[in-house]
Subunit: 434 residues, 2 copies
């Protein structure tokens, strides 16, 4: 017969069942942590109007959006495409359902987004993103910025699916850099300077210096910027260094005060050890207007950012005149999971998600086997019953592949009610009490 290519499309993440189980565990824990921090989960449709999706997208993103060809039955609808992030559909959702929501609205979204990027190692075209946001109406206190950062940090660092090495929260505020540039009348170059800072970690210090020099701002200002972006310290030191720059610009002062407040609130939750003020963090996306943050693994610099987000002064400016300030962050789970797997940070790699395989010797043993299975399942165990008509040895081989332990049910077990559980990893057998 004609051979069909059965591999998934390039750039798609498709996992084997035992790895999928760890992925699901990681995802479920993120979901639980978001819930127990008061974030309410919502799901938006994957297909939305291009008019909505293109309202924010631009440049590269726009080129990567998957558009959808309408079917016979949907021909009367507007142009459609697949969502590429959770923020744009959230803006639509908040405007659409405003009268049924309570603000500040703590919201979480976990699901696949779609970007037709050129496939690279660890970059996926269908990517799970796990987002939380707090949306205010007209105003939103800065304390929520700390709340978002703390929630994401806990969701990652206490996750039972993996052992993460030290995670560092690197936090800044765009008002600080904007105010800094305004103080020295460099605002007209702010796009270029933001861009140089955003790329500084991907190039050598010399290259950054040269890029700044190329702006023809004079060596005094080049050095000022270089000194500024070298500020990367814990709260007290960083805030002191920023204040010692003696910049009177109001935006700068506001940014420093906000950053100080966030670090203070993290301190009050015992999270300051891994939180630093870091002027290298600017975040590429231009809709951030205040706090910006990224999480890194200091011992694995090549991994890059594993989580990021920030504050935006107006979530839905493309859809309404109402002002919805917000703060949010996102974990790119598909990429993170790929990295964790590559670096052997996943737990229970050698286990299967099935706890026990019950092996009835003959059909006469089925009824008793079913009752044993039901009891184990009620105790929260994942139980397979082997219903093939193969020899006992073959059934055991099957069991050893799909489950972590097995028990055989034959006439002896039925009569005595005594069942033995064999653990495949230790090879030991124990009596089972149900």
């Amino acid at each position: 017969m004609k051979k069909i290519n059965t591999s998934p499309i390039s750039g798609m993440q498709e996992l084997l069942p035992s790895t999928q189980a760890i992925f699901n565990k990681a995802k479920n824990y993120l979901s639980e942590t978001f819930s127990n921090h008061g974030f309410q989960n919502i799901e938006t449709p994957i297909i939305d109007r291009t008019e909505i999706l293109f309202a924010k997208a631009g440049g590269d993103t726009e080129k990567q959006i998957y558009r959808v060809i309408k079917t016979n039955e949907t021909a009367d609808d507007a142009d459609q495409a697949l969502r590429f992030d959770h923020t744009v559909p959230l803006a639509r959702y908040v405007v659409e359902h405003e009268s049924n929501l309570t603000f500040p609205f703590r919201v979480s979204q976990i699901g696949r987004n779609f970007r037709g990027e050129r496939p690279q190692k660890g970059r996926f075209r269908e990517l799970y993103q796990c987002d939380i946001d707090v949306i205010g109406r007209n105003k939103l206190p800065i304390a929520y910025d700390a709340e978002v950062i703390a929630t994401l940090y806990r969701a990652l660092t206490t996750n039972p699916a993996f052992v993460l090495p030290e995670v560092r929260m690197r936090i800044s505020n765009r008002k600080i850099l904007s105010g800094f540039l305004a103080e020295f009348n460099l605002n007209n170059l702010s796009d270029q300077i933001f861009n140089i800072i955003d790329h500084a970690e991907k190039v050598s210090p010399d290259a950054t210096k040269k890029a700044l020099e190329d702006l023809k701002i004079g060596s005094e200002y080049v050095n000022k910027v270089l000194d500024f972006i070298a500020i990367r310290d814990s709260r007290t030191t960083a805030i002191a260094k920023l204040r010692s720059l003696d910049i009177s610009n109001q935006q700068f002062q506001e940014g420093v005060a906000e950053l100080d407040k966030i670090l203070e609130l993290l301190e009050k939750q015992g999270l300051h050890k891994n939180a630093i003020a870091d002027m290298l963090i600017v975040r590429g996306l231009d809709y951030y207007t205040g706090t910006v943050f990224e999480f890194f693994l200091p011992k694995y610099p090549q991994v890059g950012s594993i989580c990021g987000g920030g504050r935006y002064e107006n979530l839905a400016s493309n859809f309404t005149d109402q002002v919805f300030p917000g703060v949010g962050g996102s974990i790119g789970l598909s990429r993170l999971f790929y990295i964790l797997n590559e670096n052997k940070f996943l737990k229970e790699q050698n286990k299967t998600p099935i706890d026990v395989a019950i092996i009835p010797i003959s059909e006469d043993d089925y009824e008793y086997a079913f009752s044993v299975a039901e009891k184990m399942r009620k105790n929260g165990q994942n139980v397979d019953i082997v219903l093939t008509d193969k020899k006992l040895g073959d059934k055991l081989t099957y069991a050893s592949k799909i489950a972590n332990s097995a028990c055989i049910i034959g006439e002896t077990e039925r009569q005595s009610g005594k069942i033995q559980l064999k653990d495949f990893s230790t090879g030991k057998t124990a009596n089972l009490t149900l």
Copy 2:
């Protein structure tokens, strides 16, 4: 500003947070039940090659498939579309990963599929489907058919997200009807007769009779078929009636024996009260070759089938010469949830997913409030902290909207460590011990 339509595209299900929480609870319980019955979860990409997806689709399905326009970066890839069910991607997955899978492969899939249907009440274009399948290699014992049916039944009837009225499992076997028709040399009309039976419940008995008469098979055979499809009884009665038809055709005999075995295995698990043999069940899809089943709510006939599935002799015949027999079933969760909501079968409609809102009176109370929140979260509660700078009364109003209870943290509470929890549904206040 220009007003943009912010409603989701027609035919998409978009829920408010409190309803989404119940949906998620229902879905998570299905997932857990599948896991504890030994089904291993997998996820396939939503976008796949049209060559794969169109291998099975045909007729209406093909017209409803959403095709994807390639982006700059994906222009070199094959034609792509969105999956419309879980079965076709599963076939691809099994062929692709065969050497890494253990057979019989118990597999579950929970996710959204896409069909560009004309929107109707309770029919969605993005639809959550929750599938389980057992895939064998070359052969698969009939006992797995009972296992699939029992698992789906338990996942629905013990689901904590809703109170379902009595669920009836209606089971048949396509070999019985095929054998029956062969016995009377009616095989050449089998497509038409399958179709008439499939639609019999949507039309009057007279219309069914007339449709059979229109086939010009003679009144004797019309009556034979009508008597046959009236068989709808519990195991002993139904099997006796089928045997009393005195049909020697081997396929018929095989089908009856298989159906008897499945009903026996359900009996052994105490599920026979709600399981019947029912000759009206044929299932429209032509790839079923043996067992076919559907679940109904007898007290709500207008709801129709809430779950269905069956046995197929060769899952991946379009992709490989290897033979993978399987049995599976699917719960259309989006539609089911819509129906349950309409009929007021959902639990906890008046509750929010947030258990407690903690209200610090001033910023001085934040630190203590954070520590209280952490303790509650570790106890599994969903906790919001109200960080707005509003008056206490306004904070309480907010809390009463988003949470089921609240506690105020002020100087008194900080000093004494005594905290009171107010339950909004009862209005009662209780001392809290952490």
